[in-house]
């Protein structure tokens, strides 16, 4: 067989080779090396500021264009449609209904009246039109347009310049940012798997945990750059220490990367299959993460035992837990599962708040798969977020796990500027338990029957 090289092919090969070399050198110099040492050139901050200026201009332009053409500028889910008065209780409202129509004397005001149904009907219809819970599981509402089609208003018809700008953005995001980020992500994850497996071969000891910490930090920093995440950490003096539990509000799987690139944590979770499984298995070799098999998760005692064993060993890293148990759209904090507050370890609360202007970080797991979600993240402008480390909290005397969980939740909500909700995040998948309905029935029957008993006594 004769090998025949076309000179053109040859040239192409050389060109490709050169561009690859340049590409990787640039990557190495500007991203991977700074990632290893944990320094930043400030490129990302500059990028963020420029973007904000452009968004501002685009929104102004959009509003002006809309006015000129007498368009109804319409933002999806922009704000609530109805005014709700959440403060009034069932009892107050029903009493008010009766007061307005009392054709009887006042002391019979606690008996059933046909008009009581108005209260329930109105409340029910209100929740059909607008409710506190389901909207927390959908994308957050935005004030200005960020040149992403997913958050579009009807911008197309407004101005040619805007459309061009949007097209340019599209080209940059998918043509330059996405490939760059995908390369970085693969580098980061690949290095993590490779190096942690390597460290796993070392004997346990100080050397191993030192190296493991460095490797974890480095790889997470590369991943942070793969998402162009611009993170501001506040109050770092409160960073979680060994023997503690770090609890944070949960918006997306990225939360893990964001926290872990600033400090090492022992992760808790279920062993997944596929790529996730490979990563998990190699990570656990280098450093004691707490992974559970699928069959073990159901066993609450076992989970609690392994967690408290881990916490008691002061040489082990603080545990990272998201007690909401599901992703919420970063406008609120929902009920914390009490398990992690039952152990009795010091809790280090952390509040994470994303800036939705650059791309929505919320993972709507019922709508997008993991890969799809990550691609959306990598084709967004950036992930901008703030992390607050709150002072450590521990359970007070006479306080049960639920009360403690609520206290921690309130603190996180306050710091992150999130709405503190009592609802269970599990409602995303499951139906309301009947106990909540019972609660309403109890309130109502207390009004009717509570006083009837009094009367029968007199």
């Amino acid at each position: 067989m004769e090998l025949f090289f076309n000179p053109f092919d040859n040239l192409l090969c050389i060109l490709l080779g050169i561009s690859f070399t340049v590409w990787f050198t640039l990557l190495l110099v500007f991203i991977i090396v700074p990632a290893i040492f944990g320094v930043s050139f400030g490129i990302r901050r500059l990028y963020m500021k420029t973007l904000l200026k452009i968004f501002e201009w685009a929104t102004l332009r959009l509003e002006r264009g809309a006015k000129e053409k007498n368009h109804h500028l319409y933002k999806p889910y922009s704000n609530a449609i109805i005014a709700r008065e959440p403060t009034t209780s069932l009892e107050e409202e029903i009493k008010e209904i009766r007061r307005s129509g009392s054709n009887k004397d006042l002391d019979s005001a606690s008996e059933f009246e046909m008009s009581d149904i108005f209260y329930f009907a109105r409340r029910g219809v209100e929740s059909i039109m607008d409710d506190e819970v389901t909207k927390r599981f959908s994308a957050e509402e935005l004030e200005s347009w960020n040149l992403l089609t997913r958050s579009n208003y009807n911008f197309h018809y407004i101005s040619l310049r805007l459309t061009v700008l949007w097209g340019l953005g599209l080209l940059i995001r998918y043509g330059i940012l996405l490939p760059l980020r995908v390369t970085l992500a693969f580098t980061g994850v690949g290095l993590l798997v490779f190096l942690t497996s390597l460290i796993g071969l070392l004997p346990n000891g100080r050397m191993k945990s030192f190296l493991s910490e460095k490797v974890h930090l480095m790889c997470y920093r590369i991943c942070v750059r793969a998402l162009t995440a611009i993170i501001t950490y506040h109050d770092s003096e409160n960073k979680p220490k060994n023997g503690g539990i770090c609890v944070a509000n949960h918006t997306s799987p990225i939360d893990v990367i964001i926290l872990a690139s600033d400090g090492c944590y022992a992760m808790v979770g279920q062993i997944h299959g596929g790529l996730m499984g490979v990563i998990q298995r190699s990570m656990v070799k280098a450093c004691p993460h707490v992974w559970f098999e699928r069959s073990e998760v159901k066993d609450r005692h076992l989970v609690a035992k392994r967690l408290s064993d881990h916490v008691q060993d002061k040489t082990k890293l603080p545990i990272l837990i998201f007690p909401e148990g599901t992703c919420i759209n970063n406008t609120s904090v929902m009920m914390f599962k009490k398990g992690s507050f039952d152990i009795g370890a010091t809790v280090y609360p952390v509040a994470i708040k994303y800036d939705p202007r650059f791309g929505d970080a919320f993972w709507n797991s019922s709508k997008f798969g993991m890969v799809n979600y990550l691609l959306r993240m990598m084709s967004s402008w950036a992930i901008v977020c703030s992390v607050w480390y709150l002072p450590p909290m521990s359970r007070e005397e006479g306080e049960d796990a639920v009360q403690f969980a609520n206290r921690v939740k309130a603190a996180i909500a306050r710091k992150g500027g999130l709405v503190d909700l009592l609802w269970d995040g599990g409602l995303k998948r499951e139906k309301v338990k009947d106990t909540f309905k019972e609660e309403q029935q109890k309130l109502y029957s207390k009004m009717l029957v509570g006083t009837q008993e009094d009367r029968s006594r007199s």
Binding site: H71, P76, I82, M114, S115, S138, Q440, K442, Y444
Partner: protein, 194 residues
């Protein structure tokens, strides 16, 4: 309303619904967003499961009845028009009902609001709230918190008070009379934001 905007065209029967229900274009658009949001699988209509996915509604003791009110007899889906028509009952009553093209008895009138509430009781739609129907509603609203005797006595009293022709049931006229002094508009209206 100057902005009969292009986006209202995306709402099915938008113009007609505006006329019929009195909702503004902006409200219809919002409601349509909400409708599409509840319609998770993009079928173009809602099923009772879609309503049940709203947690606050499943917490409502008579949630099932409220959902039922959206469905025409024998139908299992609700399209956007019927959705809006039901919600229109909860618009505040207009003081001066002289608007051109307004219907003689719009959904937000006192009469229609009362009718809506009456239907929540009268599930077999025979025009009467029977004793059994009343007991069922009471059981739903009070749950297992009261004894059967208590329930019976509450129902007895309610029927006694409203039942004028002594047929042991409450007709719509009797229902309306017994609620004569109640400010229905205030209680059966939702404040819509502009």
């Amino acid at each position: 309303m100057g902005s009969s905007s292009s986006s209202l065209n995306n709402v099915p029967d938008g113009q007609q619904l505006m006329q019929e229900t009195g909702f503004s274009a902006a409200h219809l658009l919002r409601l349509y967003e909400r409708f599409k949001f509840l319609d998770k699988d993009n079928r173009g209509h809602l099923r009772s499961e879609d309503f049940e996915a709203v947690p606050e509604l499943s917490e409502n003791p008579i949630g099932d009845r409220i959902v039922g009110a959206f469905f025409l007899p024998g139908q299992e889906t609700v399209d956007f028009s019927s959705f809006v028509r039901v919600l229109a009952h909860f618009r505040p009553t207009e003081k001066n009902r002289t608007r051109a093209g307004a219907q003689p008895d719009p959904a937000n009138s006192r009469n229609r609001k009362l009718k809506f509430a009456f239907r929540l009781y009268d599930q077999d739609r025979d025009g009467k709230i029977s004793r059994i129907e009343l007991l069922q509603v009471l059981r739903e609203m009070l749950g297992m918190q009261v004894t059967e005797e208590q329930l019976q006595s509450i129902a007895d009293r309610a029927i006694q008070e409203a039942d004028l022709d002594k047929d042991d049931a409450i007709s719509f006229d009797e229902f309306r009379k017994s609620l004569e002094k109640v400010n229905i508009d205030h209680k059966m209206s939702i404040r819509f934001l502009e």
